[in-house]
Amino acid sequence: MFVRGLKRKCFDGEEDIEGTLAGIKAIPSYNLQRQSLLDMSLVKLQLCHMLVEPNLCRSVLIANTVRQIQEEMTQDGTWQMINTQSTGQASVDRLVSTDILCRSSREQAEGKHVPGYSTFSKDFEGDQAQDSSETMSTASSVQAPRNLQSNVWEMENPQENKGNFQKSLDQIFETLENKTPNSVEDLFSEVDNSYYDLDTMLTGMMSNTKMGHCDGLESFSSPTTTTSSSNCKSDLNELDHIVEILVES
């Protein structure tokens, strides 16, 4: 039931307790809860069953939740705050630990490390500075995810992109498009024994993934992911297009 490595902070039942405390204490608690929900969602998105196609409906719902939190955090202006606060570092560390477990083989190949919020906040700073009226800020915060998505694709070439969470979102849909087995099997669900009846090629890996290590997966990355990220997206779209033609013919 509990997510390993993640401090359990939930909205359940705690709201009543928090409400009785001083107002100042209640607000950061909400932020912490929201942050933990965000972390949990990202972990969920990254931990897909590598053998079976992930459930698209579930992925879309989680991704929408992440976007929602992101939008709210942008409106709050807490997104920038996270960078400077020490609690922000803690949450980054937490993300690191799960990230190391769930790093895609492509990221490992390119030697990317900790997802940094620094590059992320830069875009927001730019947007926030421009806005003065309320209506404008609402419009830009809605637009921000859009811009970020396009920014992310542009930023993937330079080394400065450290794989922020927006990239994770796009990776997810990329994953869904080309279904590369670049994620660890869900750490928290029991291993389905029926998998052992499959290809012998995979059985060796199953014992590895149960331990929670990605090592076994590195050798298993499919050919399409070894191309550089700049060409990857167009290749993926092409591949998807070709697959569609094959399927629909």
Partner: protein
């Protein structure tokens, strides 16, 4: 592999089909009513078992295709044989189930065990005759409808013309003719050009029971779209959009997830449709798009537990719902919940009941005791507190006999059949 994934009565109610995670279909048949035992209707016994789908491996994507049966739909009976459609994530199959209770005997060239006789030993000729034999039920695949879905099929629905049917996956809906397997028409496509812009998927679809040009599909954002196939070949623009405005007081980060519709079912008349989202069942009048006419809370006590349910993924459970049989006077809807509980709502009396499908708590042939969940505060005797509910025991699939008050309820591994008390 024995996890039940779908349950469906045929049009007469005599047969009950179940599909499981291992790709098998098990069909139960109702015994003929015993004249001496007028107290109970016939029991259901296993009639036929066959392997409908096998696990496959998609080499292009390096992914396994599960053999789990997502849906079974029966065709109305036209001759001695029965036909049903069963589907996994990618392929739909039409199965013919036929009985054999006679076999030919008295061949001239073959012995009874099938060995060929030496022709030189044949001195007289005889005409083979049919003799009765033990009933054998055979299932054979008559059509295989494959390679038309990129995403996972969640629904199939047979049209009222009994010639065509639709299959729906996360992003597309296809129209098939039952006789034609190498072609299908795409009638709905909500895939965005850029997959990064994807925010909504199709969760269920069904044909109208009477109008063969009308169908509905539900989405993960809690909307239902009604489409008319006469309007255009690609029904990208809906004829009606059913959506209830959000209640601002109940807004949370989980609002969208719990609004996602997991099942949609037309009423027998076609005037109403029922939708199931995570916490409630809603009845819609097809003539009113802006809100449902009735809403029934299935397990409102879970609203304060949504974060935990999100953590353990239970919030993504897809519960189905069903109408009672086509009795003109009575309208009851049924759906499942956790802890092996299932709920029924009577639309006329507005009464509801919670029952449990479990062997430990109910002896066979005893009347089920109503259950109650205590949301908060002091727990009364016989009540169960929310925290002691078992979220691994979920009832996702239920079915109601089309004519009688017999219901089939599937827990994770077991099928329960209940009937109403007869006096």
């Amino acid at each position: 592999a024995d996890i039940i994934s779908t349950v469906e009565f045929n049009h007469s109610g005599e047969l009950l089909a179940t599909g499981d995670k291992g790709g098998r279909v098990v069909i139960f048949q109702q015994e003929q009513e015993n004249k001496t035992q007028s107290h109970s209707r016939g029991e259901y016994n296993v009639y036929s078992t066959f392997q409908s789908h096998e696990p496959e491996f998609d080499y292009l994507k390096s992914l396994e295709i599960e053999e789990k049966i997502n849906k079974i739909r029966w065709l109305p009976q036209k001759n001695a044989a029965q036909f049903l459609l069963s589907t996994n994530d990618k392929t739909i199959k039409l199965w013919k189930i036929s009985e054999r209770d006679k076999r030919p005997e008295g061949y001239n060239l073959k012995e009874e065990d099938g060995r060929y006789r030496d022709p030189t030993t044949v001195t007289t000729l005889r005409v083979p005759v049919f003799r009765p034999m033990d009933l054998m039920v055979e299932a054979s695949p008559r059509r295989i409808f494959a390679n038309a879905h990129t995403y996972h099929i969640n629904s199939i629905s047979i049209n009222s013309d009994y010639e065509t049917y639709l299959s729906a996956d996360d992003l597309r809906i296809n129209l098939w003719h039952l006789e034609i397997t190498d072609r299908s028409f795409n009638i709905v496509d909500i895939k965005p050009a850029n997959m990064e812009e994807l925010t909504e998927v199709i969760t269920a679809a069904e044909f109208h029971p009477n109008s063969c040009n009308t169908f509905v599909y539900s989405s993960s954002k809690g909307t239902i779209r009604l489409c008319d196939m006469r309007a255009s070949a690609l029904c990208d623009r809906h004829s009606k959009l059913f959506e209830e405005p959000e209640d601002p007081s109940n807004r949370s980060f989980f609002s969208e997830i719990i609004s996602s519709i997991s099942d949609v079912k037309f009423s027998h008349s076609g005037r109403y449709m029922m939708t199931r989202d995570y916490l409630s069942v809603k009845i819609w009048d097809l003539n009113m798009e802006n809100r449902p006419v009735e809403t029934y809370q299935v397990h409102e006590y879970l609203r304060s537990k949504l974060c935990s349910l999100y953590e353990n993924d239970c919030i993504f459970d897809k519960f189905e719902c069903c109408w009672n049989g086509s009795d003109r006077q009575v309208y009851i809807v049924m759906t499942g919940s956790y802890n092996n509980f299932f709920r029924m709502f009577d639309r006329n009396t507005k009464r509801d009941i919670t029952l449990e499908a479990s062997r430990e708590n109910n002896k066979p042939r005893t009347v089920l005791k109503p259950r109650k969940v205590c949301a908060s505060g002091k727990r009364k005797k016989d009540e169960i507190s929310v925290d002691s509910l078992d979220f691994n025991k979920k009832i996702l699939h239920t079915a109601w006999h089309p004519k009688e008050n017999i219901i089939a309820v599937a827990t994770t591994n077991n099928l329960y059949i209940f009937q109403d008390k007869m006096n």
